[in-house]
């Protein structure tokens, strides 16, 4: 009998449980959870605010999931890892022994020091469902909301709040929205759409200091607000692992088996960096599919099975009020990648090709069947096997060989 | 109303047979009696008997029994016979006047030896020659009908119930080693003497109970070989088939049974390789001789008889043994009349022939 311990209780953690149980039905599993909720889908917190998700519908698994899978859940936060004695110490001082450990601690909001921030009464980060509940309590129909950060979290928060408050303003030091995902041109399309939908932007600008409900901007202006949401980014929760001597870059470094540099210790989810096949280097790809696959992979390997997650790429599907955008892989124009663009009245598609492989794409608008492109990126398909020119125009299976289709459509996949 | 032979004439019936394996000769008394309890299987429109070993004195001569409608035709036939045979004896078949049997035709018998010179010029063996003579008379000589033509055997038949027919022909006074008998229940005739059973050609006689559904397929096949089915009865076609297979094709009674009551393909599948090959061969080349529909028959021939049911056994038929005697009948009651005590009694399975041979040299 093994003792499995999982630190964290998000999608990666529950997938890890699934992975373990696919091999080992009996050994004990301890889950150390920081939040008092069963694992829930973090991206739903904005949909909760928007009213698209009900509070009872946000959970990753059925109510009896932990019980059915023989998991014991401990509320607490890991503070230390002793790799020699194979124990994890909690903030409470308790320590838990493991044979195999999986770290799924995710990340925490990063709020840099800002002058006068402590004078802001209604300020909330936006990463947990409890944050959503808190914001919901704080806002009224007449609230003016200021969001610092035009990244994914900030914009999703803006979407969630728009119909519930008087105004939403988003500021960011970067000159464009979603700067880590989109290039200038695509960002402009998205920004325009968001502005049409009633969101105000103050870009290339940010709050420098606060006085109560007034934010003084770098460019000299001042924005009054009732609720402040700093959404400047996240940091992986890896302190105790680093202190134990585990190898970290910006996050815990794992291999394709999701194993860390410490023996018997695995990691998955937002707190890891792993090999991005589209990019050719390890990096953080804090995205739900990767958390699910990574967690499951870790679980299987922990329980003695053998599997690997060797085609991780970043991918995103985001929509704001009818405008959808999808991205996958790597889409910088550098590093010898060639870009092919397909543009229409209501859409832009940009494909990035390197070594005759599709390494990434951005699509705004016409996202139909984009998974066919994603698949090319994940599988590093040699584009000479298919008619890529036609695929760009119309993502379907026609540009593939008949043999390929026969396999795809005529067999189990 | 059309005369029998001008239309298809199916009928239901009673049959019985008895034979001594030792070749002992006995009178027809018992078999006549045996028909009485089966009275209701006949309707008075035909009855008859065949006796084997009844003419020991003339055993080397063809015994022709004929019905004549009138004197003219008798004369004509006798002329015809005289040109082909030495007529050893020509006489009226003795009968007993009884009120149950009326309207009898002229009933005559001849004992005949074919003329060697005629045989030579016809290039035929005497049996084939005689068969053709019978066919000719029955087909072309209106008013004459040969109803028995074998050696040392004879058929006796009439319109009436069989027990009466037996008395009419005084068969209690004949001795034979085998007897077959028949009571007829035709559904389609006023009754004609020639149409009664047994039906025979040369020494082959058939008594039959049933209605073969394959009749016209069998008839049209057998007619290719010179037989002419003038009566359109099952019995007639069976007699010709018996003659064809047993005499002309030289097959044994068992082989004949394998042809006319051929096993189902599913049964053949399960047989030994040798049997499978033979049965498949038969079903291929003699497929038109398969008889379907209900029948129970007794085929009599010199030296034995064969009782056979159709392959589904759609008609009753019982067989029994007592010492050297074998009995066959439509109903057990008839057997009990012939022999109240029996050693063994059984019901032959469909398509399984019961063949009885008289000891070699005893007939």
């Amino acid at each position: 009998m093994m003792k499995y311990v999982i630190i964290g209780n998000g999608p990666a953690a529950v997938s890890c449980i699934d992975g373990i149980r696919s091999v080992d039905k009996n050994s004990s599993i301890n889950v150390i959870s920081k939040e008092a909720h069963p694992a829930y889908f973090r991206p739903l917190i904005s949909y909760y605010l928007e009213g698209k998700s009900k509070a009872e519908n946000i959970y990753c698994r059925d109510e009896d999931f932990y019980e059915k899978n023989g998991c014991e859940t401990v509320i607490g936060e890991a503070t230390a890892l002793d790799q020699d004695n194979k124990t994890v110490t909690l903030k409470s001082g308790d320590s838990i022994v493991y044979d195999k450990l999986c770290i799924c601690t995710g990340s925490s909001p990063f709020v840099p020091p800002m002058k006068g921030l402590e004078t802001v009464e209604n300020q909330y980060t936006f990463l947990t469902i409890d944050d959503s509940f808190a914001i919901e309590k704080a806002i009224t129909k007449d609230s003016r909301v200021l969001i610092i950060g035009a990244g994914l979290i900030g914009l999703k928060c803006a979407e969630g709040l728009r119909d519930r408050v008087q105004s939403v303003t988003v500021c960011d030091l970067a000159p464009r929205v979603l700067s880590s995902i989109l290039d200038d041109e695509c960002a402009a399309i998205v920004q325009k759409h968001l502005e049409d939908c009633g969101i105000s932007f103050s870009l290339s600008d940010t709050a420098e200091r606060f006085e109560g409900n007034l934010a003084f901007m770098k460019n000299g202006g001042a924005i009054p607000f009732d609720v402040l949401v700093p959404a400047l980014g996240v940091r992986p929760n890896i302190g105790f692992f680093k202190e134990a001597g585990g190898e970290c870059g910006r996050a815990i470094v794992v291999d394709n088996a999701m194993q860390t540099s410490i023996e018997n210790v695995y990691a998955a989810g937002d707190c890891v960096e792993q090999y991005d096949i589209s990019f050719g280097e390890k990096r953080i790809m804090a995205l739900l599919p990767n958390a699910n696959i990574g967690g499951y992979t870790a679980g299987v390997n922990m329980a003695g099975g053998e599997t690997s997650f060797d085609n991780a790429v970043p991918m995103n599907s985001i929509g704001f009020w009818g405008l959808h955008m999808m991205t996958a892989g790597t889409y910088a124009n550098d590093g010898g990648a060639r870009m092919i663009e397909e543009k229409g009245e209501n859409f832009v598609k940009r494909f990035f090709i390197k070594d005759n492989k599709l390494i990434g794409f951005i699509i705004i608008g016409d996202v139909k069947s984009a998974g066919i492109y994603t698949n090319l990126v994940r599988n590093q398909t040699d584009l000479s096997e298919l008619d890529f020119d036609s695929l760009i125009k119309n993502p379907n299976l026609l540009p593939f060989s008949e043999k390929n289709r026969r396999k795809t459509l005529g067999g189990v996949v | 109303m059309r005369r029998e032979g001008e239309f298809r004439n199916p009928s239901g019936c009673a049959i019985a047979a008895e034979i001594s394996r030792e070749g002992r000769r006995f009178s027809a008394e018992k078999i006549i009696e045996s028909m009485i309890p089966m009275h209701d299987r006949s309707n008075g429109l035909g009855g008859g008997f065949a006796g084997y070993g009844i003419y020991p004195k003339y055993k080397d001569f063809y015994a022709f029994h004929l019905f004549y409608d009138h004197r003219h035709i008798k004369k004509e036939v006798e002329e015809y016979l005289k040109e082909r045979y030495e007529i050893v004896l020509s006489e009226e078949i003795p009968t007993r006047k009884i009120p149950e049997i009326t309207d009898e035709p002229i009933i005559w018998r001849y004992f005949l030896a074919p003329l060697k010179s005629v045989l030579r010029s016809a290039q035929l063996d005497e049996k084939e020659f005689t068969a053709r003579v019978v066919m000719h008379i029955n087909t072309h000589m209106k008013g004459a009908y040969v109803f028995s033509s074998g050696k040392n055997m004879g058929a006796f038949k009439a319109v009436g119930f069989p027990e009466d027919v037996g008395r009419f022909y005084m068969l209690d006074e004949y001795l034979g080693y085998a007897w077959t008998s028949h009571g007829r229940y035709p559904t389609n005739t006023p009754g004609w003497w020639g149409g009664s059973h047994p039906f025979g050609l040369l020494d082959f006689t058939v008594v039959h109970n049933g209605e073969i559904s394959s009749y016209d397929a069998n008839r049209r096949f057998i007619e290719m070989f010179g037989y002419k089915c003038t009566l359109q009865t099952d019995t007639e076609v069976m007699a010709y088939i018996a003659d064809f297979l047993l005499r002309r094709e030289g097959l044994s009674p068992k082989e004949m049974a394998e042809i006319i009551a051929a096993p189902f393909w599913s049964t053949i599948e399960k047989k030994s390789e040798e049997d499978k090959a033979r049965l498949t061969y038969f079903r291929t080349i003699y497929s038109s001789l398969l008889m379907t529909g209900p029948f129970s028959i007794v085929v009599g021939f010199n030296g034995g008889l064969m009782a056979l049911n159709d392959r589904l056994k759609l008609r009753s038929m019982v067989a029994a043994e007592k010492d050297d005697m074998v009995y066959i009948a439509s109903e057990e009651t008839a057997i009990r009349i012939m022999s109240p005590e029996v050693d063994r009694i059984w019901s032959p399975a469909g398509g399984e022939p019961a063949i009885v041979n008289v000891k070699e040299g005893a007939y």
Partner: protein, 145 residues
């Protein structure tokens, strides 16, 4: 599990599957009433070019990427292996569309995410596309693995 398989060599490109699908999922009992003057949004679609035609619908993968990527838990595999979508949970993020390698997930005019869920309840025994295929190009059978 029994799945819908498409045999390209027999697909005639008649598009009946699309109409039968739309009808089967319309909740109506008369096709004319269901589809007359409607832009249909079937869960199966025919792709064609030149003389090639074939229909594509959800493969009900062994290890479906759409489920892996679903941010709301709306996409699940039921006991039979059918991948189904719970519209109460779906928030319309289209991650499933981004991840489906076959391009089998679509949306209707209200942006409701649609996919083949094997319309077995309303089409007796086999999905409507299979039953209506005039050339048995679409079959519903146990896989030959």
């Amino acid at each position: 599990m029994k799945r819908v398989y498409v045999h390209e060599e027999w697909c005639l490109g008649c598009h009946l599957c699309e109409y039968n699908c739309a009808f089967a999922n319309s909740g109506l009992s008369d096709m004319v009433k269901a589809l007359k003057n409607q832009k249909i949004t079937p869960r199966i679609h025919v792709e064609e070019g030149g003389k090639i035609h074939y229909a594509v619908s959800c493969r009900h993968c062994e290890d479906p990427m759409c489920i892996k990527g679903c941010i709301s838990g709306a996409m699940t595999k039921d006991k039979d292996g059918t991948v189904t979508i719970n519209h109460d949970k779906c928030v319309g993020c289209l991650s499933c569309m981004l991840l489906c390698p076959y391009g089998c997930i679509t949306t209707d005019e209200n942006e409701t995410v649609l996919k083949c869920e094997l319309c077995l309840k309303n089409s007796c025994g086999a999905p409507a596309c299979v039953q209506g295929c005039p050339n048995r190009a679409i079959v519903y059978e146990e896989a030959e693995v």
